[in-house]
């Protein structure tokens, strides 16, 4: 079925971004356009969300696994490289569409309050809408090229928004890092796409055509394609080894962290793998590799998160860790669970970031959790919603995270990948620990001097009520995919129509596994409680005495390592070219030629010594030579 609505959904935010950007740049400063910006900046995502609901509603009325296509125009057609700008709403993109537009709208509303006093209010919303448009482009694209365009544009929006406070060079460095590492991933991604295009020998490069032609492709090459595409996901979704940009990306305004670096953009990698599920189903080895990377990233990030003091960085590592879960899921072939965890994570992680943002604003831009403390009574609404989100991410029953995460772990166990399962359980323990560490230190533990001394900044209403909506989501979303063991029917997974692998557990096994997970989570909470609520001594920022402690707190010096291994050698090489190769070797060899020419000239100039008799002699010799030659030549002729 065709409809123009999906196109409209994508174009609306772009249009909003264009209008706001134009106004911001060309309307003389001094006029307060904030109401206009609010109208356009919130209008576009809300309208997109509304249209999204309509489209998804329409789609659900269609017969099974039908999709709504929305061709716009032909982007390019050269040879067999025919790419259309066309959008498609199928079950998978519908989920993403709803998550992105709904949570996006909420965060836009939240950002009105958060950014109200910022000079660049209009610019912020232009960027924000631009991001939303790019993200929707990525999700609704009906071919990988268009997906890649959205993929790159969300990276660009992320760059612009991380560096939003551009007075501070550190923020720009963080933005650069994000873009560069993303581009390294994109290099892999575009290589994968190029290879895939060449391998499939039929016209048409949209997803349907690609997947129908996969059978004729050599498995080794297909694995290479899968790997290269996943390199893109490593960059975008902050997995080992391209993850180092994510914690730094927290330099952006908090709504940015909530929307881009928690709920939507970073999950694009997971979405991509799910989108390419027919391809990845053919190459289970690559899938296992993806799951391995996911597990390793989850563990590493959880370790880092346990040692951070910056509230946003804790959440950033936590995001990376949760993304690791999602990659475990999609890597092992249970795409629906991965997507479900993505959706649930979008709710509770956005909520966590927005709560953290509220705390940060209330405390005059303080981000160190050890300078907070005791905020529970002073910010009750934030505390309550944060608690819901923390319980959700920890995986306490009935909260969304319980169902989504335990489904992943249960499947990993059931399919026999016990190592990955064990890592997942350890991560679950660490998650419970570091999340409650954050919660206890910020809200429960006795307050610190610095947070008490100054009065809190009052929070605008637009920053508070979106928290409750998200909290409701974090609370109830899990029932959408209630497993059969609990009397549900995993409706979500069934609706998604993805090519999941099947692995069944008996209900009893599932109860045991889930109970074990809950136990582990409670253990983590208890440990955090012991350390931070009932400490033996007054709460101080942790001091790292042991080498491994400070190494973890410094995230294992990975940044330094990258700097030494890549950045510095490149600069050194550049310097070498500038100082040695170009001037000395290339120009030098040219100069050698010039010197040779000059030498010959100088030598021959010495013949001209002004001495008459010398001239006469050379003259004589020359004439004699010529005469001799003539004599011999003529003599020879006759």
């Amino acid at each position: 079925m065709n409809s123009s609505l999906p196109s409209l959904i994508v174009l609306l935010p772009f249009f909003g971004a264009g209008v706001m950007g134009f106004m911001y740049l060309f309307v003389p400063t001094g006029r307060d356009l904030r109401r206009f910006y609010v109208a356009v900046g919130i209008g576009a995502p809300l309208l997109a969300a509304l249209l999204g609901l309509i489209v998804v509603g329409e789609m659900l009325t269609l017969p099974d696994s039908a999709s709504i296509a929305s061709p716009l125009y032909s982007w390019i057609a050269i040879g067999s490289f025919e790419i259309d700008v066309a959008f498609v709403v199928d079950q998978l993109s519908a989920v993403m569409l709803l998550v992105v537009t709904l949570i996006g709208s909420l965060i836009h509303i939240y950002a009105v309050g958060y950014m109200w006093d910022d000079q660049g209010f209009g610019k912020f919303f232009a960027y924000f809408n631009f991001f939303l448009g790019a993200m929707l482009l990525l999700i609704l694209a009906d071919n990988p090229i268009l997906l890649f365009i959205g993929w790159e544009l969300v990276g660009l929006a992320s760059y612009l928004l991380i560096g939003f406070y551009h007075h501070d060079t550190a923020n720009i460095t963080a933005a650069n890092k994000a873009f560069l590492l993303n581009r390294v991933g994109d290099f892999g991604f575009v290589s994968g796409l190029g290879l895939l295009f060449v391998l499939q020998n039929q016209s048409g490069f949209d997803f349907v055509a690609i997947f129908s032609g996969l059978g004729g492709i050599d498995a080794t090459m297909l694995s290479l394609v899968g790997l290269l595409l996943f390199v893109g996901a490593m960059g975008k979704s902050a997995q080992i080894p391209l993850y180092v940009w994510l914690p730094d990306a927290m330099a952006g305004p908090t709504p940015v962290s909530a929307l881009i670096h928690a709920a939507t953009m970073v999950t694009a990698g997971v979405y991509m793998v799910a989108r390419f599920s027919p391809l990845y189903n053919r190459i289970p080895d690559v899938g296992l590799f993806i799951a391995g990377i996911g597990a390793a990233s989850a563990l590493l990030a959880a370790l880092f998160a346990s040692w951070q003091n910056d509230i946003k960085k804790i959440l950033a590592y936590s995001t990376m860790s949760q993304l690791g879960y999602m990659f475990i899921a999609v890597g092992l072939g249970e795409y629906s669970n991965g997507i479900f965890h993505l959706a649930a994570h979008a709710f509770f992680k956005a909520l966590l970031f927005m709560g953290a943002g509220a705390v940060i604003i209330a405390l005059h831009h303080e981000q160190d959790i050890f300078k907070m403390g005791g905020l529970g009574s002073r910010l009750p609404a934030v505390r309550r919603t944060m608690l819901v989100a923390t319980l959700a991410i920890t995986g306490i029953p009935i909260f969304a995270g319980f169902f989504s995460k335990d489904a992943i772990l249960a499947y990993a166990f059931a399919s026999g990948h016990t190592t990955i399962w064990a890592v997942g359980v350890v991560v679950a323990f660490l998650t419970a620990y570091y999340m409650f560490r954050l919660y206890f230190v910020v809200f429960v533990a006795p307050s610190q001097q610095s947070s008490q001394s100054s009065p809190l900044v009052p929070l605008p209403r637009s920053m508070v009520w979106p928290l409750f909506v998200l909290a409701a989501g974090s609370l109830f979303l899990g029932f959408w995919n209630l497993p059969e063991a609990y009397g549900g029917g995993t409706w979500f997974s069934h609706e998604l129509h993805l090519a999941d692998h099947e692995a069944h557990l008996r209900f009893a096994e599932e109860y045991v596994l889930d109970g074990f997970n809950v136990l582990v989570a409670l253990l983590g909470i208890a440990m955090a409680y012991r350390k931070f609520v009932r400490p033996a001594h007054p709460l101080n920022p942790p001091v790292h005495r042991l080498a491994w402690q400070s190494a973890l707190a410094n995230t294992l010096y990975i940044d330094t390592l990258y700097d030494r291994l890549i950045v510095r050698p490149l600069r050194g090489l550049s310097d070498l070219q500038d100082r040695l190769i170009d001037p000395k070797i290339i120009d030098g060899s040219l100069r050698g030629l010039v010197a040779l020419y000059r030498g010959v000239a100088a030598q021959s100039a010495r013949l001209q010594n002004g001495n008459l008799r010398w001239y006469a002699l050379t003259f004589l010799l020359a004439v004699s030579g010529i005469s001799l030659y003539l004599l011999i030549a003529i003599g020879g002729a006759s």
């Binding site: 950007g21 911001y24 740049l25 060309f26 125009y73 032909s74 982007w75 390019i76 057609a77 050269i78 040879g79 490289f81 610019k123 090229i145 890649f148 365009i149 790159e152 544009l153 660009l156 760059y159 560096g163 551009h166 007075h167 501070d168 060079t169 720009i172 460095t173 933005a175 650069n176 873009f179 560069l180 581009r183 390294v184 994109d186 290099f187 575009v190 290589s191 190029g194 290879l195 295009f197 060449v198 090459m221 290479l224 490149l570 600069r571 090489l573 550049s574 310097d575 070219q577 500038d578 170009d582 001037p583 290339i586 120009d587 040219l590």
Partner: protein
């Protein structure tokens, strides 16, 4: 209609002659120059509209005897390849005049007028002697502009670019003359028309040497790796309009020459040079990008950036399939637009702060948001962000490379990484951070400057968002050229 090309070529020169004859005042001079540029633009657009993409061979051909004793002819013609470059030239000139609007040095204006005739003639000439003539003609105004009106070591740098390029063109001239003579030897009459020379049954060894002459000229002009040491210094010294022409047009003429004459005349032996050209362009692409990282002079940095992109274009030409050739042609146009934009804006920085050294700049974003937007936009176009034309071109070249060999594809895809190595760090130190002392009074873009840059932005966006508007103009003829090339290359081997 066949005289339209003659008008397009010689109108600026005619204006220069008339204006110079009456020694007009600055205000008249600039109005005249602008008028000529706009007239040329209109004529070019007319020609573009009449252009038939489906037709084979040259259109609007003007072929008249000139020095008939030696078969030298006045021979102009237009096909998709030259049309693209012609459009770029015609579009850029009015913008450059807008940039120079308040510059009252009259020599500047006359040189620009002559320069336009030189570059347009070189793109349209199909007689090799005529081509050589224009190819040298365009060098002269550049030499004068760098030497006379340039900055920082301008005399030495003007001399360097002159010596390098003349060395190359001398080799080419020799090859051209030999080809004409060979034509006389084979057929009993002289001819320098390129399609005649393409048909000469040369023995491989001679052809190899002659091709070397051509390739040397174009390798220096592009410049390929190893022939490039004139580039950074000339770019650093050139006044902005000359710089834009250098990067956006003249360098492209090196590619054009390689493409039309290198591949047109020497198709059958070019495979001998293919490994060299491939290596030079592939390595050059990364070499220049890495070289740009530590440059402190914005002009030099983007000189190397230009070099990197030109290497990519050359790579696309060398790989020779439909995707890479389409991509290269597309990149010729879009890189011209983006680099024109960036160099014009560097010129604006120079006007405002009197420096283009990165360490003396910083924090422009705090004082000039419009400037920041445009500058960032052009920088991102150079990186090849989707939505700008450069992305389309790079994608096509990458895909074309993959269809030859996967590893070649991966190597070509590193272009994704090339430009970003230096661009973002440059943006950080130029635009962001706390405002440097030099930019505290930095004025935002004026209306004239906005009008000057807006067409470039719009075109880059349109070429990026809807390449299907442009691709049908050149793909049929690219396909045709490719078939001819493959036929000629296959016929000999």
């Amino acid at each position: 209609m066949s005289v339209v090309l003659t008008w397009i070529v010689f109108l600026p020169m005619l204006f220069a002659g008339v204006l110079g004859l009456f020694r007009v005042r600055h205000t008249v001079l600039r109005a005249g120059a602008m008028l000529s540029a706009l007239l040329v633009l209109v004529l070019t657009l007319l020609a573009a509209m009449q252009f038939d993409p489906q037709a084979e061979g040259m259109q609007f051909v003007r072929h008249l005897p000139w020095i008939f004793q030696y078969g030298i002819t006045y021979y102009l013609g237009l096909d998709a390849l030259s049309l693209v470059i012609l459009l770029v030239i015609a579009l850029l000139m009015p913008l450059l005049y807008l940039y120079m609007w308040d510059n009252s040095t009259s020599g500047y204006w006359y040189n620009m007028l002559l320069l336009q005739t030189g570059v347009t003639g070189a793109v349209l000439a199909l007689d090799m002697v005529l081509f050589y003539l224009f190819y040298e003609t365009m060098l002269l105004p550049i030499f004068i502009m760098i030497g006379r009106y340039g900055h920082d070591w301008n005399h030495a740098h003007a001399m360097k670019i002159l010596l390098f390029t003349v060395l190359g063109s001398m080799a080419m001239l020799f090859a051209i003359l030999y080809l004409g003579y060979a034509h006389y030897n084979f057929y009993g009459n002289w001819s320098f028309a390129w399609h005649d020379l393409a048909k000469l049954p040369l023995d491989p060894q001679t052809a190899t040497w002659l091709a070397a002459g051509f390739l040397l000229a174009f390798a220096i002009k592009i410049p390929l790796l190893g022939f490039h040491t004139w580039m950074a210094s000339a770019y650093a010294s050139a006044p902005t309009p000359a710089l834009v022409i250098l990067s956006a047009i003249m360098a492209k003429l090196g590619i054009y020459g390689l493409w039309r004459f290198g591949y047109g005349i020497f198709a059958h032996i070019l495979h001998l040079y293919e490994p060299i050209l491939l290596t030079l362009s592939l390595v050059g692409m990364l070499y220049y990008a890495i070289h740009a990282i530590t440059q402190n002079d914005l002009r030099k940095m983007f000189a190397y950036s230009s070099g990197s992109h030109l290497s990519l274009i050359a790579l696309g030409v060398v790989l020779a399939n439909l995707y890479t050739w389409s991509g290269s042609l597309y990149l010729i146009a879009t890189h011209a637009l983006a680099s024109a934009g960036i160099f014009l804006m560097i010129g604006l920085i120079h006007q405002r702060t009197n420096t283009v050294q990165i360490d003396a700049l910083g924090g422009i974003a705090s004082v000039a948001p419009r400037f920041t937007f445009f500058f960032t936009f052009f920088a991102l176009s150079i990186v090849g962000v989707p939505g700008t034309g450069g992305f389309v071109a790079e994608l096509l070249i990458i895909i074309g490379a993959f269809s030859i060999h996967p590893w070649l594809g991966v190597a070509t895809a590193t272009t994704m990484l090339a430009a970003m190595l230096f661009v973002f760090w440059m943006l950080q130190r130029t635009l962001f951070g706390a405002p440097a002392p030099s930019v505290t009074t930095f004025a935002d873009l004026s209306r004239r400057e906005t009008v000057m840059l807006a067409p470039l932005v719009l075109l880059l966006l349109i070429t990026g968002i809807a390449p299907s508007l442009f691709a049908p103009i050149f793909t049929p003829q690219i396909q045709e050229m490719l078939l001819q090339f493959i036929h000629a290359a296959g016929g000999a081997s």
